[in-house]
């Protein structure tokens, strides 16, 4: 009988940091291709459609960047929590709350000044998202309530809450019954690159990427939360306040996801409509892992994920496949990624059990 034997790797070669995500993406795409072929979808045509849709026009390129903006932010939101092994999967809901807060500011506190509006929307969205995330952090820190479940449940609450506003009190009276809020006035909109849909949100995303990179790699606090993640017992002995840090990372993460909601409202849509959140919160989770929890790689990976999503739109239009088909690729890439990570931690040997001396079996 043949068995796999896992031996921990003592070395951690540098090339692996690059190879693992690349290999994971390729494996995921390959497995997805095989699956597509099996289901009667020509994988070459499908991937070609994705590529043409994404890179075949300036519109495609601009759409990729437009999607990469919120994904970068939601990935960063998750990343800072995952570093501490806090399984916050609530970016979707925190993004929603940020969007709701942005619309509320425009509705109730409108001033005719771009700078004032930006400041107000920024604060409101960050606060709303931060509190939404912080609730789960508080429950975790105080009573050890499973944060995966609470963040997820709050996603559903947030989405339903946004629909309540879209269909109810905030519905545009001029919308002829369609579910969306009135258009934002110009002072509440971001600046936009020429004739594309790429908007000022890109600067928020890049700025927070840099801040996170410095914070996590260079600051004492960044070191602290890494210790908590890797060795909570050592952290406790070192006198690090774990409860406070849980509250802090969930609040910061929520705030960043809230900013994604603001940037979608003020930068892209200019109003809140049903389904505006597009699952960016969940996509961010994959991006955070593919970036191996390093903030600096997040924008790049978010861009690649944008390629996949824009390609998904073309899959729908050109090949008549449901948009959700792209989720198969996302899932398979994520599977490959965590599988590849294990392979990087262990050397795998195939051993024959039963043919050798007894001591070898184990």
């Amino acid at each position: 009988m043949i068995r796999l034997k896992f031996e921990p790797r003592l070395d951690n070669p540098a090339w692996m940091n690059v190879m693992i995500p690349v290999a994971a993406v390729l494996t995921g795409l390959f497995a997805g291709g095989v699956l597509f072929a099996f289901l009667g979808v020509n994988p070459f045509r499908a991937y070609w459609a994705v590529l043409v849709g994404a890179f075949g026009s300036t519109y495609g390129l601009s759409e990729i960047v437009t999607k990469a903006i919120p994904i970068t932010l939601t990935a960063l939101a998750g990343l800072i929590c995952y570093r501490m092994l806090i399984w916050n999967i609530g970016a979707e809901g925190q993004l929603c709350l940020g969007a709701i807060a942005t619309v509320a500011v425009v509705r109730y506190f409108y001033v005719d000044s771009r700078i004032a509006m930006f400041a107000l929307m920024f604060l409101a969205a960050a606060l709303a998202g931060g509190v939404w995330g912080g609730v789960s952090g508080f429950l975790k820190a105080k009573w050890n309530v499973n944060e995966t479940i609470t963040t997820l449940m709050l996603n559903y609450v947030a989405i339903n809450l946004s629909e309540y506003f879209i269909y109810g009190p905030w519905k545009d009276p001029m919308s002829m019954g369609f579910p969306f809020t009135p258009n934002f006035p110009p002072a509440a909109r971001f600046w936009v690159f020429g004739s594309t849909r790429i908007h000022g949100g890109i600067f928020i995303a890049l700025a927070i990427t840099l801040i996170f990179q410095l914070l996590l790699k260079r600051s004492k606090w960044g070191y602290e939360i890494r210790v908590i993640g890797e060795n909570p017992r050592a952290a406790r002995y070192a006198g690090i306040n774990i409860a406070k840090n849980i509250l802090l990372v969930t609040f910061i993460g929520g705030a960043v996801a809230g900013l994604a909601g603001m940037s979608e409202m003020a930068g892209l849509h200019g109003r809140m409509s049903r389904g505006f959140s597009m699952d960016y919160g969940y996509t961010g989770i994959i991006v955070a892992w593919l970036a191996r929890l390093s903030p600096i790689y997040v924008p790049l990976v978010a861009f690649l994920m944008g390629v996949l999503l824009v390609g998904g739109d073309t899959l729908q239009v050109v090949m008549g496949l449901p948009h959700a088909s792209i989720k198969i690729l996302q899932g398979l890439i994520l599977f490959s990624m965590i599988g590849a990570e294990t392979l990087s931690r262990f050397r795998i040997r195939i051993v024959r059990v039963g043919l050798r001396a007894k001591g070898e079996e184990n």
Partner: protein, 309 residues
Amino acid sequence: MELIIPILAAAVRSGTPILYATLGEVLSERAGVMNLGLEGVMLTGAYAGFAVTKATGDPWLGLVASFFAGAAITLIHAFLCITLMCNQVVSGLALVMTGYGLSALLGRSIIGETISGMASWSIPILSDIPFFGPVFFQHNPMVYVSYLLVVFLCWFIFRTRWGLNLRAVGENPRAADAMGLSVTKIRYLYTLVGGGLAGVGGGYLSVVYAQMWIEGMTSGRGWIAVALVIFGLWNPARAAFGAYLFGGVEALQLRMQAMGSSISASLLLTLPYLMTIIVLTVVSIRAGKGVKLGTPAALSVPFRREDRD
């Protein structure tokens, strides 16, 4: 009474798909493997069940297909978490996406199709009992199967040798290994059976409950099932109570909508999720006070046989 009985009966009917998934997750977690991917597994089961029922005209065959489809897609999770010792949270999330995408892609050909589903069947004598009869014994057969399953699992987990082995593997895999049990085999077995039951939960939704296929039709029930395992403290009977509670909220909300209640449907829909959070918090507070809850000690901790000294 005339108002309450139909709501309670509806609670049982709509709690049943969640119950199947929850029972599956109880088995999986008792063996030490957390499967957050139930949502994706249920969707896969829902698709397979509907497609096979449509093709064969036999809902029972459809539900068998749901079981195997659920187990099949869970195999990826089992391989990653048990053999490759990967992070179970991330693997579960990937399973949700894969299952959702796969069922959406496969299901594109059966959108709008209809099936006749499963006729309901009142159990003689039992269904005549006032109150309990109409609430529990005037349903489709899959509801009765779930009752039997709850009773069976309570006996199996707590009263049999097999159940003891299962709990040993989730509680102290090293000791189980020393007793000569194959931790790997047992974990694979219950993770796959657990996935299969979640698949049946999905199949119940498409074949028996809705009698059609809609993309993403589980709408969060898989996640609720994950939460209910904690709510039910890894105990099948308590899990059943939780599932019916949730079914009750769902039924109540549908009824209030139908009666034209002025409360917004969107706001009502937040109730089950808020309730999960509250219940989870109460359970966690009690756990913090040292109340023994039954959490498998080795839950989501991978087991590597070579780690033995």
